[in-house]
């Protein structure tokens, strides 16, 4: 019996070697950058990690509706380099062929996040060449944030302007009322006005300040040199 087992084992390994090789049909290349992602905390890539990888791939395929019988032994790894990079294929348990690339791709894409997390890596440090990364949908709030800040500043500035204008109008009304009152007072005392040098003294006492109107303000009166 042992003699019969030996050739079958050889056959299996030969078949596996044929199925999994670089650029084989339905094969994918994987590349990991452990030191870039984890620095000092990087773990060594050994057979246990390879086992985990096979398990994750098998798990991803099982989530597909018609592949619930996939086992870890169906995932084949080969050409493992120091980089770390390797090729893998997934064989069909019922037939002796590899699963079509589109199915494997779909399965990996759906579970990419979980595969990444299992290894503490992300899309850039755990690369499946030829499987494009799925971008998360952009999160846009219903009102763009900037309009909120804009609205707040706009409101404050508008309120400030309105307040200043209203205070200006109040001040002007008060001033015109005061000047009207001094005008009434002057009318009543018209008969008692004292005049000096031809200028009524009362006008010089006005509340607006002491401006001597007899004195020329600028020397425009003088002819230029």
């Amino acid at each position: 019996m042992l003699v019969a087992l030996f050739p079958t084992l050889c056959l299996v390994t030969v078949i596996h070697a044929q199925l999994c090789r670089p650029d084989a049909e339905n094969a994918f290349k994987v590349r990991l950058s452990l030191k870039t992602a984890l620095g000092d905390k990087a773990y060594a890539w050994n057979r246990n990690e390879e086992y985990l990888f096979k398990a994750m791939v098998a798990f991803s395929l099982r989530t597909l509706s018609n592949r619930e019988t996939i086992e870890i032994s169906n995932v084949l790894l080969c050409n493992i380099t120091k980089r770390v990079s390797f090729w893998f294929v997934v064989t069909d348990p019922s037939k002796n062929q590899t699963l079509p690339a589109s199915e494997v791709q779909e399965a990996i894409r759906m579970n990419r996040n979980r595969i990444n997390n299992a290894f503490f890596l992300n899309d850039q440090t755990l690369e499946f060449l030829e499987i494009p990364t799925t971008f998360g949908p952009p999160t846009e709030p219903s009102t763009p944030t900037w309009i909120i800040t804009f609205g707040a500043v706009f409101f404050i500035v508008a309120v400030g302007i309105v307040l200043l204008i209203i205070s200006g109008i109040h001040k002007r009304r008060r001033k015109s009322k005061a000047s009207r009152e001094t005008g009434d007072v002057e009318d009543k005392h018209e008969t008692m006005v004292t005049i000096e040098n031809g200028i009524p003294c009362d006008t010089l006492d006005s509340k607006e300040g002491r401006i001597n109107r007899a004195f020329p303000a600028d020397d425009e009166k003088f002819t230029p040199l």
Partner: protein
């Protein structure tokens, strides 16, 4: 009939006047033009022509404008009318140039507002490229350019490929422009009463932010590279006449001479104010701020250049590691060169295949990308900010600073326009101060909507480059000659002595009478020669398919607008002189017939 002197509004205290002048003079040019000139014309060596021009040209002309304003106690039109009725046109030209400036300058404030409002997000919108429509990869235009360029050219400006294609008004930019004008209106509403208080903030806040940025910038990784690059003097540039010309023009435009703003500010002073001391203080602070801002800018440049250089090196390392399946982490920036040689010799065939993709990363070339103007603030700085920690804080600080600088300069511009209008009895008797300011703001805002079109940035560049440059040189030249030779230098000297009580130093007299006019004439000739020799005027248009700027020729009507901008302000000088001459002849003719 004796003329009454109305109570002229005044500054609350002399400090407000100094801060107003500083706030006006220290503007965006100090932050985004001086560092560029410094880098281009000899680094530390550029300071020599810069300081010489400051002493020979900047201080005397600034003192002249302040003295004229303080003596005449009127805005630019009234002041020049007092010096000689034939020269009223100089004042009118100043007002028109200020009008053009305020039209386009506030658009910069609206961009600062836009970026400020977008800084309250995590992550910052310009830190990464958006996805394309079917979510498979990043947007094409963004991939070819960079994320900060994409945000500026596409999301902010939504720029069209050429000036002929106008597109529609961008409503977001229009809103920000309206807000910018409302803020300016709020500050100038009450004249010097409100302006005097606002300048405390607009003058002092930028320095606080610059100091914070200086501390942050100097502690960034790679800042020393930028500083070393900037300050190593390239002494051979001193022999280049362009260096001296650019130093002179930078001092000239940085102080904001010729717009009438300084005359307007000084007209609200008390007559006994020592404007000589203030002129020296303001010009020194302006130049010091330029140098200070360029230290900060180059620390940030150094950080950005080092970051980009290290990214480039890391990309090369990744490429080689993947091609030759080397162990991850085997290649480092230290051993990269020797490993490249080793790989080239061991695997010549594969190496030659990949060789074309290996970029030669150079720190020098990253530092060499000297940028000025809006590109520096909205593209280069934002790129550096997005890589700092807590980028939202740095972004907010930076754009608040830009806003303060911009609004401070706008206050000066609008005061230059408003003061002559409020001085004129005809207008101020019919409309209150608030209504005049409101009208000016509304008119400027409506015209400014042109700059929010898709081609708006191209029109902005036209205004930026041509509306003020020629005209100001001529205006200041006429001003200097008018004060020295038409009004009379001795008479002006006597006026100043009566006003301030100090005797005029011989230094100022020589500068005003001989040196400054000669300097301005030579600058003017240089500009003329440069324009004639350049031939067809070109502008930089953004090409979305390539993701970079390409030069294009201005169409005919754009050239017509440029000529209009230059001529429309200058033509008032001879026209008004001629008009006054004709009117005087007619008056004299009438009186002679009466006799």
């Amino acid at each position: 009939m004796v003329e009454m002197e109305k109570d002229r509004p005044q500054w609350g205290n002399p400090l407000q006047f100094v801060l107003a002048c500083i706030s006006y003079a220290v503007g965006l040019g100090n932050v985004w033009r001086f560092p560029y000139l410094c880098q281009k014309y000899g680094g530390g060596g550029f300071l020599v022509p810069y300081l010489i021009m400051l002493i020979v040209e900047g201080m005397p002309l600034l003192y002249l404008e302040l003295a004229v304003g303080q003596r005449m106690r009127q805005g630019s039109i009234g002041a020049w009318n007092t010096i000689s009725p034939y020269l009223r046109g100089v004042g009118i030209a100043s007002v028109i140039v200020s009008f053009f400036l305020s039209m386009y300058y506030n658009v910069i404030n609206s961009w600062s507002f836009w970026y400020l409002f977008h800084s309250f997000q995590d992550p910052l919108p310009w830190s990464s490229c958006p996805l394309n429509s079917n979510l498979t990869s990043h947007d094409e235009e963004c991939e070819r350019a960079s994320s900060t360029e994409y945000f500026w050219y596409r999301k902010t400006l939504n720029i069209s490929p050429s000036i002929q294609e106008n597109g529609v008004i961008q409503w977001e930019q229009a809103l920000c422009l309206i807000l910018a004008w409302l803020v300016v209106y709020l500050c100038i509403l009450k004249g010097t009463e409100s302006t005097g208080k606002v300048v405390y903030i607009t003058a002092l806040l930028p320095y606080c932010v610059l100091i914070i940025y200086l501390i942050r910038g100097l502690t960034l990784h790679g800042a020393a590279n930028g500083l070393a690059y900037m300050f190593t003097p390239k002494v051979e540039q001193l022999a280049n006449p362009q260096t001296w010309i650019n130093a002179a023009t930078q001092i000239f435009f940085s102080l904001g001479l010729g717009f009438g703003s300084l005359i307007a500010f000084a007209s609200y002073n008390e007559q006994s104010n020592n404007c000589q001391k203030h002129a020296i203080i303001v010009s020194l602070i302006n130049s010091f701020t330029s140098i200070f801002a360029s230290i900060v800018t180059f620390a940030i440049y150094g950080f950005k250049a080092t970051f980009n250089y290290e990214s480039c090196v890391n990309k090369v390392i990744l490429l080689l590691t993947n091609t030759f399946d080397l162990e991850d982490g085997f290649l480092t920036s230290g051993n990269l060169e020797e490993m490249k040689a080793h790989l080239a010799s061991t695997y010549p065939k594969e190496y030659s295949e990949v060789f074309l993709q290996i970029k030669n990363c150079s720190l020098e070339s990253e530092l060499d990308t000297a940028v000025q103007g809006t590109g520096l603030s909205f593209i280069v700085y934002t790129e550096a900010i997005k890589n700092m920690e807590v980028p939202q804080l740095w972004s907010v600080l930076y754009f608040v600073m830009l806003l303060m600088l911009g609004i401070g300069s706008m206050l000066g511009n609008t005061t230059a326009i408003l003061t002559p209008l409020t001085d004129s009895k005809f207008i101020s008797s019919r409309l209150p101060k608030e209504a005049i300011s409101g009208l000016i703001c509304v008119i400027n805002c409506v015209i400014g909507l042109v700059f929010t079109l898709e081609s708006g940035n191209y029109w902005f560049e036209i205004f930026n480059n041509y509306s003020a440059t020629f005209s100001l040189l001529l205006i200041v030249l006429v001003e200097t000659i008018a004060v020295c030779y038409i009004y009379g230098l001795r008479r002006f000297e006597n006026d100043l002595q009566v006003m301030t009580g100090c005797k005029l130093n011989w230094y100022w007299k020589i500068m005003w009478a001989f040196v400054s006019p000669l300097l301005i004439i030579s600058l003017f000739i240089f500009y003329l020669m440069d324009y004639i020799l350049t031939g067809n005027l070109k502008y930089q248009a953004w090409d979305a398919t390539q993701g970079q700027l390409v030069p294009k020729d201005y169409p005919g009507y754009a050239l017509a607008v440029i000529s209009f901008l230059v001529v429309s302000s200058l033509m008032f000088i001879p026209l008004v002189a001629l008009g006054t001459f004709i009117m005087n002849r007619r008056k004299r003719g009438n009186t002679s017939t009466m006799v």
